[in-house]
Symmetry: C2
Subunit: 516 residues, 2 copies
Amino acid sequence: MVTRIQNLLLAPILIVVLVLSSTGAFAQTSTVEKVREYRIQHEYDILNEYLTFLKIPNVASDLPNIKRNANYLVKEFEKRGARMELLTLPDKPDVPPVVYGELKTPGAERTLIIYVHYDGQPADPKNWTHNPWEPTIYSGSMQEGGKPVSLSESNEEVNPDWRIYGRSASDDKAPFPAILHTLDALKQSSIALTSNLKFFFEGEEEAGSPHVRQILEHYKDKFQGDLWLFFDGPKHQSGRPQVVFGVRGVTGMEVTVYGPSRPLHSGHYGGWSPVPGQMLAELLSTMKKESGEILIEGFNENTAPITEADQRAFETLPNYDRQIREDLGLNWTEMEGRSLIESYMFPTLTIRGLESGNTGELARNVIPTKAVASLGIRLAKGNDPERMKDRVEAHIASQGYHIVRQEPNMETRLNNRKVAKITRGGGYPAVRTPIDNPMAQQVVGAIKKATEEEIILYPTFGGSLPLFHFEEVMQTPIVIVPIANHDNNQHAPDENIRIGNIWYGMDIYAEIFTMD
Amino acid sequence: MVTRIQNLLLAPILIVVLVLSSTGAFAQTSTVEKVREYRIQHEYDILNEYLTFLKIPNVASDLPNIKRNANYLVKEFEKRGARMELLTLPDKPDVPPVVYGELKTPGAERTLIIYVHYDGQPADPKNWTHNPWEPTIYSGSMQEGGKPVSLSESNEEVNPDWRIYGRSASDDKAPFPAILHTLDALKQSSIALTSNLKFFFEGEEEAGSPHVRQILEHYKDKFQGDLWLFFDGPKHQSGRPQVVFGVRGVTGMEVTVYGPSRPLHSGHYGGWSPVPGQMLAELLSTMKKESGEILIEGFNENTAPITEADQRAFETLPNYDRQIREDLGLNWTEMEGRSLIESYMFPTLTIRGLESGNTGELARNVIPTKAVASLGIRLAKGNDPERMKDRVEAHIASQGYHIVRQEPNMETRLNNRKVAKITRGGGYPAVRTPIDNPMAQQVVGAIKKATEEEIILYPTFGGSLPLFHFEEVMQTPIVIVPIANHDNNQHAPDENIRIGNIWYGMDIYAEIFTMD
């Protein structure tokens, strides 16, 4: 959608109309239209300013440069009237600070808290076409034949299909130029915000957010508000606007079962010694059917039910299941009849690793001493990570296993028919805002005003993000509003943002910041 | 047993008696007693001669030295009146030859064919206490505090607990001094052999016997006889005399089952994509129970039944099962109630390897593309290696798998619900002479005359040796008559033979060569 609108806007006659409109010739011009008028007038400036910001290296471990990024944000947001400060924990001053800000709106009763992270993934320049922190504009995706474009030499209109290549161009600096220039555009058009805005810009998200929980707890009073908006992540691969209401949680565990205390000759002992691989296969087959049905008692018991609103969302979502299945060479999928997106509403149990003895060239005629399964567990809303591991453990015990935490000694082996060592991994729960949450629906309504395409309402991502810290500490609903193109090479070399996606960000932010 | 008799013999008074006996003072002196008298007179000579032989390196790939070994055997056996020759295939003259010999006994109607191999495992001198081909005598096992003994400086009687350390001291040169000096002892006592002897001394057994089948086929007429005696391997760990009537066969296969065509993020696809480890666990659990029961149709169908003679043999065998179980930390064993030795009468299915994705530190939140099981199969008498693999394949097909021989392409994946790649290994069948075979029982009777301890009659070893070439080509029964001590470090550094075990060899060979 954004693409088509932008292409239309390139027609000179329309620009004339819109310039007239920005002077007040047409009283009925909408907020998004006014922001577009402003943007068209300032495209080169917006891009040049963004290139300046992208030139500041932003790996969390590079503290001097991280601080330059933080100071840049303080300065730019202060220019727009926000009260900014840098937050670190009192006992840990030398870590990437949270850039915190408040932009009060007189009379507003609602506070939106906007999360963006200004750090990026580490980047090895030798794997990049250009230096990751020398952002370069291309006429399109490099993969699809895009060529470098020089802003200073170009007389062309900015094409929304142009791309900026550089670290964090999309993940996650892209919202910054969009927020800053939306605020400018609204101000120039004398359109007032309707919410108080708070800004929570993290500087170590790609390093695993090691201090975010403590920062939230320590400065909890500052972060009070009505809705967290996470401006992060790519849009749906269809290019359609997307709002995401949750993420799955994650945990995992490893199970080791034991055979003889030393590897045995399979001739001298085969048919007599227990075989750990056989024990493990039998155990795993009691936990889940290959068809996907999980047989562990209570595994699904606390899972939040699928609501009618969720069901409606599924029905409006584009279904690429058949295409994905064919792309992956899959004749069938687990829990047949359940779509990929619907499957995200359930917890999973995945054998991510199996190991016993050797296979292939290294296979030997030996009965191995043990067999190991690494189990990945994804959590749906309502599943507690510890409780889920408890249930798997209880199931293993119910199959006759004595459970230990360390390699069993001879006494333990001899006194118990079957012994399983269980190593429990860490993890965190899912976060999911009900799709019919009224304030979230207001955001959806605002986005609808900025776009003609149907919005994809994603009840939850299948993957996991540690959003639960925010939910647990702040007890405030969260929605994720991505703007980046899905083919942005996020976390990889040649990361990029399609310029039209920054424009899309301005469109929707304008409507969100001024929603009823 | 040997130990106790030898210790008795060290008493000087007994030696006097036996020396008297060797002079004919006692008319009733038995064959074994006469051989012992001879041996006691010649112990130092026998050992010195054996040390000379052990000094000739004997790795099959070292052709010049292998030929020196072969020539040594030709010379020594010709001294005893045998007609010797070196056999190779006409088109492959430069491989370790079979040293073949015939020692005709006028009037004998029975021909025993004696198999020994004169090559040894490769040895890395740096892992040995002494150079593997500089044989060294110790006063006992090194592990139990034995010290070097110099034959030239020693005035002691040779103690049967002394050991010779050196490559092939037990595996498998030990029968040679015993055969040669048994022949000498019988000659000196004017005791006639009662069988024709043929000798089949292989020179590349430890290299996998690459030419033995062709040699057998090419020179089949030479090797006609009534019973093959394999003089190889260690005695039972109890030290008791042992005759072994068979070995299991062996084969194997590898099964790979497939999930998605590329590794998938377990969040984005978990709960939807099939998981190959789960499929494999379910498949394996349909093939065998962890308790040991094999569920594959027909797996056990052609297995030779356990006869009453086998059953009697089991009952007389020492049962160390509990001790072995405790040594291995096993609370239970497969097919509970079935002894280790009894289990050798059945085919096995052992998961010797399992692999899918990663475990431990390397575990990642990924759905792997495949899961692999390496299956070892031991065969009982009656089981055909190819037919057994066919049965496993038929079982896999019956579980809904489409079977392929190569990695499946996308079309194969999409057109079949489940795909299993099966790689079939080679292998060979079991060999087992009925325990009540009359000629084998004559051998057992002869050994009984040479020893006071009860003989262990082993219906079959659990392990595998390619004896089937001999059985298939020659259609002649085979028994294995080991003499080496069980703690001989066979195939390992510091291989050794307990000298009393060579004396045991002379005792039993004397009675076998002169049996009724």
